[in-house]
Amino acid sequence: MGFEGIGAAVRRREDLRFISGRGNYTDDINRPGQLHAVIIRSPHAHARIKGIDAAAAKAAPGVVAVFVGEDMAADNLGGLPCGWQVKNKDGSPMAEPPHPVLAVGKVRHVGDPVAVVIAESKGAARDAAELVSVDYEVLPAAPTLEAAQKPGAPLVHDGVAGNICYDWHLGDKDAVDAAFAKAHKVGRLELVNNRLIPNAMEPRAAVGEFDPASGDYTLYTTSQNPHVIRLLMGAFVLHIPEHKLRVVAPDVGGGFGSKIYHYAEEAIVTWAAGKVKRPVKWTAERTESFMSDAHGRDHITVAEMAMDKDGKFLALRVHTQANMGAYLSTFAPCVPTYLYATLLAGVYTTPAIYAEVKAVFTNSVPVDAYRGAGRPEASFLLERLVDICALEMGLDRVEIRRRNFIPASAFPYQTPVALQYDSGDYNATLEACLKAADWAGFEARRAEAKKRGKLRGIGISTYIEACGIAPSAVVGSLGARAGLYEVANIRVNPTGSITVFTGTHSHGQGHETTFAQLIADQFGVPMSQVEIVHGDTAKIPFGMGTYGSRSIAVGGSAMVKAAEKIIAKGKRIAAHLLEASADDIEFKDGKFQVAGTDRAKALAEVSLAAYVPHNYPIEELEPGLEETAFYDPKNFTYPGGCHICEVEIDPDTGVVQVVNFCAVDDVGRVINPMIVEGQIQGGVAQGIGQALLETCVYDENGQLLSGSMMDYTMPRADDLPNIKVGTAITLCTHNPLGVKGCGEVGAIGSPPAVIGAVVDALKDYGVRHLDMPATPHKLWQIINANRPRMAAE
């Protein structure tokens, strides 16, 4: 056994199972007597349902049942709940229109579920689905932010005036206005944060099962947080108490946020399984994923930065419109507010900030958190604006950042937008990244590229994010309807092997490795002695799952706390066995040792004594060696860093090639550097995808034009450079491991660096900013429009 503890680049133990096809995904689960569900979805963005005729489908071969929205209503089921309430400027609650599981009365986006056909085979269900005739009265649609806010725009929900979900603000408006009044210069930027479609490799799936003997329900589902689904679906939708409902999220092939939410299909299969008394399975086709998985981003923003004569930031004013889609997905309201506006200080000392956010309903798929959730929107806005400020001041992009950085000596640092950063050193990550990217040598590379007819540009972003979500009382005061602690249960088995039950969930992050390393480190045992169990409410304690880069910071901290309890108990058992005082026992390298002697008991000896308590302090200690710890974080964690991107543009075609990408991030203590590197590379790949390739397009009728892989440009290996990843860390000061999180930094830090590079490459064409994605078509149009001017010069 080589070194496997904290800091070792141990290979991911789960990968053999994944790459050899032995994973156990939801669609791999088949239950005896299982039926198949096909969901009938709205082909219209907005329509009244005048009637549904399912008679022919019900009579079709192999069909067991057809259900529509009214059938669910007849069972008094609830709608899909929203887990976060944001308040308007005047303190009134946001508009929270009903979200029926199957549409009732109206459909509100293409893909809105209308009915479900349940049959003996998927083929039979599909055949029958074609026989269901839905009589739609098509209504005018408002699929985009612009369309939904035009005077007289169609109303997505009859009761929601102007399609406004909420009109919220944060910060000190008066202080900001005052600062602008005396500003030397103002940088101003209007931008769009493009709408993305997540596209995890594994499509969503769900299998519902009902046991008539016990009355128990089981749901197998592609989820990042099975306990959250159990609570939401059980308590709010189906009215099944926790003890009668088990939710299993087995191997999950990527989530990126899109598998946090409680989706209609989960409730449909679970409820239907009870109705037909047989298991019911549904697996999304890719086309369904495009029109039913929650989308991400979709903001329109105007931002202004006031500066003094030295380019010091005095105040920031931001106005954002955020698209919620047709209904509120589980965490949608918090994304453009508490995960966005609270990040607008970035890494800068801007003393006054005021942000207004208007959330808007549209006839489009619901929008919710997607890798980074609010923070990529904040960092893109802020970092692009800082570049504009540099232009405005005639300052170098790096220099203006240095002038405004929060100095390393200023931590803990209270921002004007609620958050208090605990630690960081922005100059350290900046300097390391400038060096790694050879920023100083760029002009020579630009000149060389020019000789080859290429336009070369370089871009930089110095970002911060807030993750390790989140202190329960704080988020509760901000409208969260959940606690966001995490839990771990550690069971030292009689022979000394260790089973860890975690409330977090791994869907690609490699937790089975990282957590095993952490536990191996805590107990001084080989990783092979450690098993990590997650994803089954019947096994794990009530935890909140994985998102917001919280697993190591919150879940890992809970493990450390539980390990401390085990060790404390173990010391008392060892003291008894060694006839010493517990105070004299040290735990080191897997052994309980009487300090200063060679008298020791191995962990396995202590655990055996705990489960076979023949010689045991039974009067004062319970038998067994198993402990649970709940950990509620004291603060968010604040990873940050610097990303530098270099691109070359072919002026004849507009094609952009990313030729260099360097990231130096402060993710706090690194448990497994290889996994951290992989997480950052994956995040950067998604960031490059957003910056150059991906965008969701609706036409004016609300039809999804980018509704398949033929039209939605996912990044591929040859779109990406070798991404150089480095770390320059400061420790988190408020959790036991000093960890911050690395799951989202790549997607948060990279887009502004990429667009900054594209803008820099086109600076001679009069470009100050351009919206994502920077497609060849868009760039060629800019180049072409400026060609005559360039030729004249």
Binding site: T653, H777, W780
Partner: protein, 265 residues
């Protein structure tokens, strides 16, 4: 998919008989286009006549003046063929960049040209090289074969058996892939051969592949990228979509053509 009968005949004659007896039957070669269409329930054939059992339909042969590729030859086989690489390197290079490895291992030349997807690569090669399409009934000149988007001169019971490419003096293909699908958003195949200079444009035209006669004339006079400097491409009849406007496509036709001529040498 809807239900259908499945046949796997071992001769062209048997295949044709099956097709002739059932107007709703469909031929399948690699299935790379047909199967997704079936899975999406966009087609409802009564029967599938799978050509993969017909050994006669696979193979590449080179005579002095022509390369003949039988219909069921896969893109991967064309890309890897030493004979094709020697005789018409542009054709092998083109095949090497169709789709991905899985698609190249299944997709066939016969299926590709019979399908005439306006964004497919092969139609460009067939038209620019002035190839002749062999069927079970007749020989069809490339100029007469492609009749519009997803349409060809093939009769319902007619099967492509081979494509015969005259060996050009010079030829090259340059493709601007659609960023999402990687099919040709614009592909230009240029050739100088026994039938003179021919330039075929695929991916851009709303009616599928077409010849660019203005470019052909310019290149016939002066085979060089510069000769195309002032040759424009009309936007009319081009495709416009979320990836590229007609204007951008027209522009790319010029850029790809120049690059193709430069590549051909």
């Amino acid at each position: 998919m809807y239900d259908f009968a499945y046949h796997r005949p071992s001769s062209v004659a048997d295949a044709v008989k099956l097709l002739a007896s059932d107007p709703d039957a469909k031929v399948m070669s690699g299935g790379m286009t047909l199967i997704p269409t079936l899975k999406q329930r966009l087609a409802k054939p009564s029967a599938i006549v799978d050509l993969s059992g017909i050994k006669d339909l696979v193979g590449i042969s080179v005579s002095g003046s022509a390369v003949t590729i039988k219909a069921m030859t896969t893109h991967a086989a064309v890309a890897a063929s030493a004979e094709v690489k020697k005789a018409i390197p542009a054709l092998a290079a083109m095949a090497e960049h169709i789709g991905d490895a899985q698609v190249r291992n299944r997709g066939t030349i016969g299926g590709s040209i019979a399908n005439h997807d306006p964004a497919a690569d092969y139609p460009g090669a067939v038209l620019a090289l002035g190839a002749t399409v062999h069927t079970n009934k007749r020989k069809i000149a490339a100029d007469d074969f492609f009749t519009g988007m997803f349409s060809t001169a093939l009769a319902p019971d007619e099967i492509v058996t081979a494509v015969e490419f005259p060996i050009p003096e010079k030829a090259a293909y340059v493709k601007f892939p659609n960023p999402a699908s990687r099919y040709a958003m614009v592909g230009v195949f240029v050739a100088k051969g026994p039938a003179g200079v021919r330039v075929a444009v695929t991916g851009a035209g709303a009616n599928g592949v077409f010849r660019h006669t203005a470019m052909e004339e310019a290149l016939a006079k002066n085979w060089s990228p510069d000769a195309l400097h002032d040759v424009g491409t009309a936007e009319e009849g081009l495709n416009g979509d979320i990836h590229a406007s007609k204007e951008y496509r027209a522009h790319l036709v010029g850029v790809m053509a120049k690059r193709a001529v430069a590549k051909a040498g």
